[in-house]
């Protein structure tokens, strides 16, 4: 069942790429990509319906042996941690495809790449073998690199290479940690289940865990490994930005929780305070830098750096509620950042600039873009944590859960929501308020194609904000089970303190 999430998009890719150009016109390539992505989304929906939220472990498991001598097996499965992220992936790919410009160059390559990306990300989220995860993690890198390098902005070469090198280093470190874990523990298997219980000396565990944290920290991104992100976002075409911020960053936090916290619960306890401090730095640093930016995409990109900090904070706290908060914040950030990038993309494609010092008065009713502006206000307010939208409840869970563990760090990172209000309010005030300048008066018409993805996102953001049960329903049992591991680990480390 899960294989379809991977092979479905790949089949679409094959169709688009291999059929002769005479048959595969750009319009048809787009149609096929849309149909495949919609099919995957429906299939994901079906999986969600079939998913039993009361079971803590993996569901829909698939297991095939592949390269046994290496310990590489084709093990798939999904739990409450990965399921919401798979949904986000399927959803955002479809939205990104809808939002794609009709007249882009080399459409067949583009649509093939997007579908490969979808397959790679889905594969990484369902892989239950460390090497398999690594493979998918690397697979996802190539299409994104090409998307930035081919359809990107002026400095796309620099940005794409930077992205490639950073992510490759992340992959190498991750691979090193996986090898170390497997060989040092003497299991020679990379199956997630087999590795979980291995007990290594604490020093080794720490070295491996810190390697993993750096590896995933590049992806999340943690300050100071973040500088690839703004460049990549600024140069990437809108759909790539949407997927990058909405889904790909979550690979980092997902990996951190699944492999860092899940495999090294004892060592996690030791680095958690440090991680919480890093989280605060991420939040404040990202927010402060965002205030000083003038490029709309850069503002949203740095806000991603800040908001991913909340996921780190909650992961460091690692109580059941905190893990719940981490998952909720991942989903919330996925939706909100995707929404913001979609909207910035529309503004950019219609006005030709993203500079907040140039744009003005876009909310104007007749010649401006009032609907896009209104959606932008919703998105911005959701990001700033206004209640009634998903950003608030996710952040509230994070704060509420992290406060008992790290009170000072939580209070400090709460300042981030205030700063979010500052930079996003400045953005809205400058770009959408005020009197429209003459040079902007002749904007091209906005098609419904441009609006629909954002409208879907806004509806989801508000719906999940009012009905947060849907946000967390799937993950309760998994988070409880995950933190149970953690509690046992604490009990092992401090045998006397537990009653």
């Amino acid at each position: 069942m899960l294989s379809l999430l991977i092979w479905g998009p790949l089949f679409g890719t094959a169709l688009i790429a291999l059929l002769p150009a005479a048959v595969m016109t750009p319009a048809r390539a787009r149609q096929i990509a849309l149909v495949v992505a919609a099919g995957v989304l429906l299939w994901t929906g079906y999986l969600v319906m079939q998913f039993d939220p009361n079971l803590p472990g993996l569901q829909f498991r698939e297991s095939l042996s592949w390269v046994d001598s290496l310990g590489l097996t084709y093990q798939l499965g999904v739990d409450g941690l990965s399921l919401p992220l798979i949904v986000i992936n399927s959803l955002l790919v479809l939205m990104a495809l809808v939002a794609t410009d009709l007249n882009l160059t080399r459409p067949r390559l583009y649509y093939s790449l997007v579908l490969i990306l979808e397959a790679g990300v889905a594969g990484a989220f369902v892989a239950q073998n460390l090497l398999l995860f690594f493979l998918f993690y690397e697979v996802e890198l190539i299409p994104l690199y090409l998307m930035i390098a081919i359809w990107g902005g002026a400095k796309r070469g620099y940005a794409a290479t930077k992205f490639l090198i950073y992510t490759a280093i992340s992959g190498v470190l991750m691979l090193a940690a996986f090898f170390g874990l497997s060989f040092l523990s003497g299991s020679h298997s990379f199956d997630y289940d087999g590795l979980q219980a291995q007990a290594l000396p604490m020093a080794t565990q720490l070295v491996l865990l810190i390697t993993l944290v750096v590896a995933f920290g590049i992806k999340i991104p943690l300050v100071p490994f973040h500088t690839w992100l703004p460049d990549a976002h600024v140069e990437a075409p809108t759909p790539a930005s949407v997927l990058l911020a909405g889904v790909l960053l979550k690979l980092g936090t997902y990996g951190l929780l699944k492999f860092g916290f899940g495999l090294f619960p004892e060592a996690w306890q030791l680095i958690a305070p440090g991680l919480a401090v890093v989280a605060v730095i991420n939040v404040l640093y990202g927010s402060f830098v965002a205030i000083a930016q003038t490029d709309m995409k850069k503002i949203v990109a740095y806000s991603s750096v800040g908001h991913m900090g909340y996921v780190i904070l909650a992961s460091a706290a690692a109580t059941p509620l905190a893990l719940m908060g981490a998952i909720a914040q991942m989903i919330s950030h996925g939706l909100i950042s995707a929404l913001l990038f979609l909207l910035v993309g529309v503004v950019y494609s219609k006005t030709g600039t993203r500079d907040v010092t140039v744009l003005r008065g876009l909310l104007a009713p007749e010649c401006g873009m009032p609907l896009i502006g209104s959606l932008m206000i919703v998105g911005v307010m959701a990001s700033a944590g206004i209640p009634g939208m998903v950003g608030f409840i996710a952040e509230f869970i994070v704060y509420r859960a992290s406060f008992p563990v790290f009170p000072i760090q939580t209070i400090l990172s709460m300042l981030g929501t205030g700063l979010t209000a500052v930079y996003f309010l400045n953005l809205v005030n400058r770009v959408f308020f005020g009197r429209m300048t003459e040079s902007l008066a002749q904007l091209p018409r906005i098609a419904w194609r441009d609006r629909i993805p954002s409208i879907v996102m806004v509806v989801l953001v508000i719906f999940l904000g009012l009905q947060p049960d849907w946000l967390v329903h799937w993950s309760k049992s998994t988070t409880l089970a995950l933190s149970e591991v953690n509690r046992t680990a604490t009990a092992l480390m401090l045998p006397d303190s537990e009653p």
């Binding site: 009713p365 300042l415 205030g418 005020g434």
Partner: protein
């Protein structure tokens, strides 16, 4: 019927939100053919329903004890969030006040914004505004109240920014949002902490918890301080007071609500949090100190304003300062009474001001004059509203002020003196505004001023009647003191202070027009007051500068140090490659030798480390 009304009490806030939702097709431009009017009618209908529901509910529960309705909203692991409602005379009464004033303001807006293309958007926001406020009135959970306060912040931002094409409006909207946001953020910290420490966010349970709670003084003080800052922002108290003044750039019907009930919402939450605040003497003292500073400071600042709306909005801050003092002294009944009488009086004043602004197209006091004969309804509304706001004749505020003075008379007489000063200054200010607007010779902009159209006049006159009836209502509710309970000393003092204010104002501003505007040699003080004691400059030099420079510095570090290091590394490796390529000889043995040395070096390093 009884049970049904009580069980459906949560509809009251929902009506407003539903109204806002129904206007969407018009406000985003899906329906253009009908014009925006139908959206307004939907909202009016919803507000009427909310009002009727509230009134029927109040009628039903009048004799019942306080009811508590738990509505579980979100439950996850050990976190339970409720949207609890409290059904009591006070809460439903507050909801009636809100929906009633909202109804009047919305009818008023039909006339005021008649030709505005954004009418539907305005009504959507008003519905949202009203829903959030009536929810706040009924809320019995700190979490719910916090969420609604934030929604109020958002809708204030959008309402102030309604005419977003004007630069002043954009700035005002931003300042309103960010200033309130500072307060909200601190409140959120408090909410998170309370939820962790007390394990509940329900006001009733928190009250019970606070009685037995044993907190470290530092924790209690920090908690109390965090909690009071939300209301401070919302009620425009020093040091978060400037937004209200700037918010007067927004459309007037929203100002009616903002100056009467919106600011009161903050104080209302403060009153509900009072048991928690009582844990921290420092928080109560801070509350009183800030309230006192605002009461006197804002009354002084109000006198120097030349914008008619700003002149009145500062007195709102001042009166809310008095409410803060009452809460600080743990006199919640007086605080509530004060909020009520102030709300209706101030709403009436702002309706009258709206009528003036619409007719004359100016907000500048210096450009007005001689309107008394031309706009009789507006004039009488202003006079009645003003009299209801000061203690001179026995209208609303007279009774709340004398009650206020009685409660402070024994404990803290110095505050009674302060009340007299505020009352006197406000009376002076209102007389000044009256003199400049309604008295004297007509100015170019007021020469051809007709009375306001009926859509404006009707709600204004209706509210005027209500304001006049307030003493009767108080009497019916048993809130008036009996003849023997009246402290005649305070009454005499209050009336004297009001009379002194009116007389001084009359002497200065009811006379010859030219004399008033030049004359006095107090230029320096006047400028200082007109600029709100340079508060804005102080903000700019402190917190704004801090954030700005901090962000610039971080961005610089990001660009030149963090990213610079990365680029340097990249540059170094390219340079290294480019340089080393000249050493290539093409002979395999050299390569093997290099590889060999490299491996040796690596092995040495590894053995060295371990």
């Amino acid at each position: 019927m009884n049970q049904f009304l009580i069980q459906t009490a949560w509809w009251v806030p929902a009506y407003g939100l539903l109204g806002a939702l129904l206007t969407l097709p018009w406000s985003i431009g899906l329906i253009r053919r009908t014009g925006p009017r139908p959206a307004a009618y939907f909202n009016l209908l919803m507000t009427v329903l909310a009002l009727v529901h509230c009134v029927a509910l109040l009628n039903d529960i009048w004799d019942l004890p306080v009811l508590h309705i738990d509505m579980p909203w979100f439950r996850i692991l050990d976190l339970n969030l409720y949207l609890s409602l409290q059904i009591s005379r006070v809460s439903v009464g507050a909801a009636i006040l809100i929906t009633g004033l909202s109804l009047l303001a919305q009818v008023f807006a039909l006339g005021y914004l008649e030709k505005d293309w954004g009418l539907a958007r305005f009504y959507a926001l008003m519905g949202f505004f009203e829903g959030a406020m009536s929810g706040l009135a009924l809320s019995d959970s700190l979490f719910f109240s916090y969420a609604l306060l934030e929604m109020l912040t958002l809708s204030t931002y959008l309402l102030v920014g309604f005419w977003y094409a004007q630069p002043l409006v954009v700035k005002a909207a931003r300042d309103a949002f960010l200033t309130k946001r500072v307060g909200d953020l601190l409140l959120l910290m408090g909410v998170v902490a309370v939820s962790t420490i007390a394990g509940t966010l329900d006001f009733a349970e928190l009250t019970a918890w606070a009685k037995t709670a044993d907190l470290a003084p530092l924790t209690a003080n920090l908690l109390g301080l965090a909690l009071i800052f939300g209301p401070i922002g919302k009620c425009a108290q020093f040091p978060l007071n400037l937004w209200l003044d700037e918010a007067m750039e927004g459309p007037n019907p929203a100002s009616i609500m903002r100056n009467s009930v919106v600011v009161a919402c903050g104080a209302y939450v403060l009153i509900q949090m009072q048991p928690l605040l009582a844990l921290s003497p420092l928080a109560l003292t801070t509350l009183m100190a800030l309230g006192a500073v605002t009461a006197v400071g804002a009354s002084l600042v109000a006198i120097a304003q030349i914008d008619i709306k700003r002149a009145l909005s500062h007195t709102t801050s001042a009166y809310l300062g008095l409410v803060f003092l009452a809460v600080g002294m743990q006199q919640n009944e007086v605080a509530l009474l004060f909020l009520f009488t102030h709300a209706v009086g101030k709403a009436l004043q702002f309706m009258s001001v709206g009528s003036i602004i619409l007719t004359t197209s100016t907000q500048d006091l210096r450009e007005m004059g001689g309107l008394a004969g031309r706009m009789p309804a507006t004039t009488s509304a202003f006079v009645v509203g003003s009299l209801a706001c000061v203690a001179l004749v026995p209208l609303g505020s007279f009774w709340s002020m004398q009650e206020w003075a009685n409660r402070f008379w024994l404990g803290a007489p110095i505050f009674v003196g302060m009340l007299l000063v505020v009352n006197g200054l406000t009376a002076f200010n209102l007389t000044r505004v009256f003199g400049l607007v309604f008295w004297g010779d007509p100015q170019p902009k007021t020469r051809r001023a007709p009375e306001a159209p009926w859509l404006i006049a009707t709600p204004m006159v209706a509210l005027m009647v209500i304001v006049l009836l307030v003493p009767v209502m108080l009497w019916r509710w048993g809130l008036l003191p009996t003849w023997s309970q009246i402290n005649w000393t305070t009454v005499a003092l209050l009336v004297t202070s009001g009379a002194v204010g009116v007389t001084a104002g009359g002497l200065l501003y009811l006379g010859d027009r030219r004399a008033q505007l030049q004359g006095n040699g107090w230029k320096g003080i006047q400028t200082l007051l007109a600029q709100d004691f340079c508060m804005e400059q102080i903000y700019r030099l402190s917190i704004i500068l801090g954030v700005q420079q901090g962000s610039r510095l971080t961005a610089w570090i990001d660009r030149y140090i963090v990213d610079g290091a990365v680029n340097l590394l990249g540059f170094a490796s390219i340079l290294g490659g480019e340089t080393l390529k000249y050493t290539i000889s093409g002979q395999a043995k050299h390569y093997l030798l290099t590889v060999f040395f490299g491996v040796v070096l690596g092995v040495v390093c590894l053995t060295w480390v371990f």
